[in-house]
């Protein structure tokens, strides 16, 4: 220890002499430059001595530290740094050992200055690329110490910031040093990440720093800023397997510091993560968030809401990559939380409101996820969501236990997804296996839900943003005032309408006579009908829509069950609708006729006009008011001249060269009118089969494929019993009508229909062949069905001409 004696210097090894010489007499003078150069040269020329130089320097440094000769300590560190930087030899490895020991020594000191200087040296070291493996080198102490420095709580603001900054730089150096090299210690180990990540987040979460807006020049030396940079650096280096060990501590930190509510900081963190993470791993972050949501199942809805809010932002950023491999799983988790939240019926209104907020967040997020999917998957997702409705699951479940609130939420979800969908062609938007359940839902009990279903339909049908213009039932003399955007319907869409139009018509028709309808319902129906006319405004389709309007009118006139207000509303709706049809078909005589009827109504039956029927202000409060009301006096018996006359419309049409013959055959049958009155949920198993049989245009095979779970022996039995009795008459009528249709309908239409049918047959066949999981049973069901319906219902025989067309 006393080897500094000058007289002994000749006896001592050369490296010791060189090392001793770099220290000046007076510490104020700093490192002796010339001697330092000599030492460096020596080290470079005989690298095998480097480790000894290191050891000797270390010894000196220890002595200086003990004696609190700070200046000398700095000089020793300076020398070490220079040696480290200039020497790139194999033997650096051993030298590094001494070097790190010295850094640790300094870090253990209480002096902030020494700690900072040690960190600076460490960072320099971290930037050196070593070419030899160092399996045994461990950084535990450094991770612990730097993390602890990042949390520095020193009283003096300036020193505290310096120490924190040093700690953060040290952590960054550590990450840089170890991350790229497999031979180094695994920094991604949770032991380390659990210290590093919270330290970074702790510094990032500085309210005073967050407050400064992005515009103002940032204090680049602020620990918060540095922490952010280090954090980004860390994230972008993370590989597939290590993302989780970073995101995990982040989530725990946010939990512990209750940073989910409000979630600005959480959002900020995850924005950084999402922007920095390698794009292909983005979905892991999303998955982690989803899993974290699972952890919080029982937590306060506010917290859950915060998490989902973050999720939403994250999904927004990650775009296409957000979903990863398991699309449905993501939606399943979110839908499950939606359900849990709804089931979580809290008596407390405040809690309930929070839950509702959370539900809305979830729905928005689902929408955002869906937005990132290609269109065809959106339809899939909508079908998946619909699958969550009890009606569509197995029979036993239909017990009605399903919470209406959940249904409402699911519908909102559907709507959200639907709004993200851009319709191009209708056949793509509405594959039969999607369209049918959707339409089926349009007949739900709850009027509010029906409105939502209509909204879904509208957003899917509307391609030209006309929905807003048709939100209310209006009857302008000049329809062009509405400023509707129209475009000629493509051939494909017309074909689609020929195939599936009947389903739309039938459901609209049924919807009209729901006794629970409210003004909103009628308005929504009007909107849907008008959109259909606008988007698919081909002459023939318009004709069918006219026919639909007339049928509805007929229904209103003949039906006894509907309240007066409904009748008026429907009359008004039809007037407005035919008005639009007249405009779209640009048949001037029809438009004139509409105006004529409207004028008559203005004089004699104001209540049949939308201005009256859809004016929310003059709605009667009580039934008695309604009975006695002057305005309604004549509406029980609507005069003929106030109605739209089928023959006159036909005249108008034929005068402008349209084929009006089909207008006379009302295509809407009401085969189970009686049942409708009693049970307002019109769709039960048998009925859905009946629809298939009744509607000529329908595609029975598709229906069956989809609802094959509904075709049970029981239902077939019921059908057998019923069809022979109650429906006999209508059956006969139907038969006549089908005959009529084939006699009068244009050839193309018949072709289109049979084409559709054969397509479906084809699809069906494929479906059966594909269905390998339970082929025997499935086939059996089909056969049963086939024979059953043929034996009982002669309608199918009448369909043979259909096939002969080909």
């Amino acid at each position: 220890m006393t080897g500094c004696c000058v007289c002994c210097s000749a006896l001592r090894p050369r490296y010791k002499v060189l090392v001793d010489n770099i220290f000046p007499e007076d510490p104020q003078d700093g490192l002796v430059r010339i001697n330092m150069e000599k030492l460096t040269f020596y080290a470079l020329s005989s690298p095998e001595k480097l480790d000894r130089i290191g050891q000797y320097l270390e010894k000196r440094l220890n002595r200086e530290v003990k004696g609190h000769r700070i200046e000398f300590v700095f000089i020793a560190m300076d020398a070490l740094d220079q040696l480290l930087v200039s020497c790139h030899a194999q033997s650096l490895n051993l030298f590094v050992e001494s070097f790190l020991k010295m850094v640790q020594k300094l870090l253990e000191c209480d002096e902030p200055e020494l700690q900072i200087s040690a960190t600076a040296s460490f960072v320099k070291f971290a930037n050196i690329e070593e070419d030899t493996p160092s399996y045994h080198r461990r950084y535990d102490f450094f991770v612990s110490k730097f993390s602890s420095m990042s949390h520095s709580g020193l009283a003096k603001e300036e020193t505290r910031q310096k120490i924190r900054r040093a700690g953060l730089h040290g952590l960054q150096g550590l990450v840089r040093k170890t991350v790229s090299d497999d031979l180094q210690v695994n920094i991604w180990d949770p032991v380390h990440m659990d210290k590093i990540v919270p330290s970074l987040l702790f510094n990032m979460d500085d309210p005073s720093f967050l407050a400064t807006d992005a515009e103002s020049p940032r204090d680049e030396e602020h620990p918060s800023y540095i922490a952010e940079i280090v954090f980004r650096d860390l994230i972008c280096r993370a590989s597939y397997s290590s993302i989780k060990s970073v995101v995990g501590p982040v989530l725990i930190h946010l939990d512990n510091h209750s940073l989910w509510v409000p979630n600005q900081f959480a959002v900020k963190c995850f924005k950084i993560i999402m922007y920095s993470v390698q794009a292909q791993y983005g979905y892991i972050v999303i998955t982690s968030l989803l899993e974290h949501l699972d952890h919080h199942v029982k937590s306060d809805p506010n917290i859950k809401g915060g998490i989902v809010g973050v999720l939403f932002q994250a999904v927004l950023i990650s775009a296409g990559g957000s979903i990863g491999t398991s699309v449905l799983e993501v939606f399943n988790i979110l839908l499950r939380h939606l359900r849990i939240s709804v089931d979580n019926k809290s008596q407390n209104t405040e809690m309930r409101n929070k839950e509702i907020e959370f539900e809305d967040e979830v729905i928005n997020t689902i929408g955002q996820f869906a937005n990132n999917l290609p269109d065809y998957q959106k339809i899939e997702i909508m079908m998946f969501v619909m699958g969550k409705f009890p009606q569509f699951t197995s029979d036993e479940d239909v017990g009605g236990a399903m919470d209406s609130q959940l249904q409402m939420n699911l519908l909102k979800t559907l709507l959200k997804v639907a709004t993200k969908y851009k319709t191009v062609t209708f056949s793509n938007t509405f594959p039969p296996e999607f369209l049918h359940p959707l339409l089926r839902m349009s007949l739900l009990d709850d009027p509010q839900m029906r409105v939502t279903v209509q909204n879904i339909l509208q957003t899917l049908i509307d391609r030209h943003n006309n929905t807003v213009k048709l939100k209310h039932v209006v009857l302008p003399a000049d329809v062009s005032q509405l400023d509707l955007t129209t475009e000629k319907a493509s051939r494909q869409d017309i074909l689609f309408m020929k195939k599936s139009g009947m389903q739309f018509y039938w459901h609209i028709y049924e919807n009209m006579q729901m006794s629970s309808n409210k003004v909103d319902n009628f308005e929504a129906l009007f909107c849907t009908m008008s959109l259909l006319a606008i988007e698919l405004g081909d002459a023939e389709i318009l004709l069918e829509l006219l026919r639909l309007a007339l049928d509805i009118q007929k229904m209103v006139v003949t039906s006894a069950g509907l309240p007066i207000t409904h009748k008026c509303a429907i009359h008004g709706l039809i007037a407005a609708y035919i008005n639009i049809l007249a405009y779209l078909s640009s048949i001037s005589s029809l438009a004139e006729y509409v105006q004529q009827v409207i004028e008559t109504r203005k004089k004699e039956a104001k209540c049949l006009l939308p201005d009256f029927a859809y004016n929310r202000n003059n709605r009667p409060n009580r039934l008695s008011d309604l009975e006695n009301s002057e305005d309604y006096r004549s509406s029980d018996l609507v005069k003929e001249n106030c109605l739209f006359d089928q023959n006159k419309i036909a005249e108008c049409l034929s005068s402008s060269g349209h084929d009006a013959s089909r207008l006379s055959s009302s295509f809407i049958q009401k085969p189970y009118n009686a049942e409708m009155g009693g049970v307002s949920r019109s769709i039960s198993d048998i009925q859905s089969i009946n629809i298939e049989i009744e509607s000529v245009d329908g595609s029975p095979s598709t229906y069956r494929k989809q609802y094959d779970e509904e075709i049970t022996v029981e239902s077939l039995k019921k059908m057998l019993a019923e069809s022979s009795g109650a429906n006999k008459d209508s059956e006969d009528k139907r038969r006549l009508e089908i005959l009529e249709t084939f006699r009068t309908a244009p050839f193309e239409e018949i072709v289109a229909r049979s084409e559709a049918k054969s397509n479906h047959f084809h699809n069906k066949l494929n479906e059966i062949l594909d269905n390998v999981e339970d082929p025997s049973e499935r086939l059996l069901t089909e056969e049963d069905d086939e024979t059953g319906s043929q034996a009982t219902i002669p309608v199918f025989q009448m369909q043979f001409p259909d096939l002969f067309v080909y």
Binding site: N62, K66, E97, D110, F141, H151, D194
Partner: protein, 200 residues
């Protein structure tokens, strides 16, 4: 060359405000800081003591008691050789949360960790937890019990010296280096590498 024979990591845990930082500072710096603020995250101190003529270096990690820092402090006692679980003898609440702390220790700390239970602030008049109760509790969970006062410097030295002795004895008994996984003695004369002070 190293200036110590053994290196041990000691971690202090316990509720916020029981006097962990004061204990450490009393021991390492010999002073009682009045108006000590709450520790943020983790603080670090080092002290070398003499056990039977051998230098023993104690790395003392002083953790924050606040709930929000729980996750980062947990990360620290994973690798501890000794834990000091502190409660305030004048605060029933801090005593009541001991089982919770023990639970954490079981979850995160190594199985061989040496645990001390410390009732701090005995200088105060309004003592709520009698020595007897603390003693019993410590016995039940196989901890060493000691009552201290950082302010009056009572038993502080003894506490850390006991730990140093206990750990040294254990290290010698096992005839091992204190770090089991220290398979690479680095260049110096001592078998202990400071870089291998990790074990899970």
């Amino acid at each position: 060359m190293e200036d110590y024979k053994y290196l041990f990591k000691v971690v202090l845990i316990g509720n916020a405000g029981v006097g962990k930082t004061c204990l450490v500072r009393r021991f390492t710096e010999g002073l009682f800081p009045p108006g000590q603020g709450a520790t943020i995250g983790v603080d670090f101190m080092i002290k070398t003591v003499d056990v039977d003529g051998e230098k023993v270096k104690l790395q003392i990690w002083d953790t924050a008691g606040q709930e929000r820092f729980r996750s980062i402090t947990q990360a620290y006692y994973r690798s501890a050789n000794a834990l000091i679980l502190v409660y305030d003898v004048c605060c029933q609440n801090s005593f009541d949360s001991l089982p919770q702390w023990l639970n954490e220790i079981e979850l995160y700390a190594g199985s061989k960790v040496l645990t001390f239970l410390v009732g701090n602030k005995v200088d105060k008049m309004s003592k709520e937890i009698p020595t007897q109760i603390g003693q019993q509790f410590a016995q039940r969970y196989d901890m060493t019990f000691i009552e201290t006062s950082a302010k009056e410097c009572e038993n502080v030295e003894k506490l850390f010296m006991d730990i140093a002795r206990g750990l040294t004895k254990r290290a010698r008994d096992l005839n091992l280096q204190p770090e089991e996984n220290n398979e690479f003695p680095s260049g110096g004369s001592t078998p202990i590498s400071t870089f291998s002070c990790c074990k899970i």
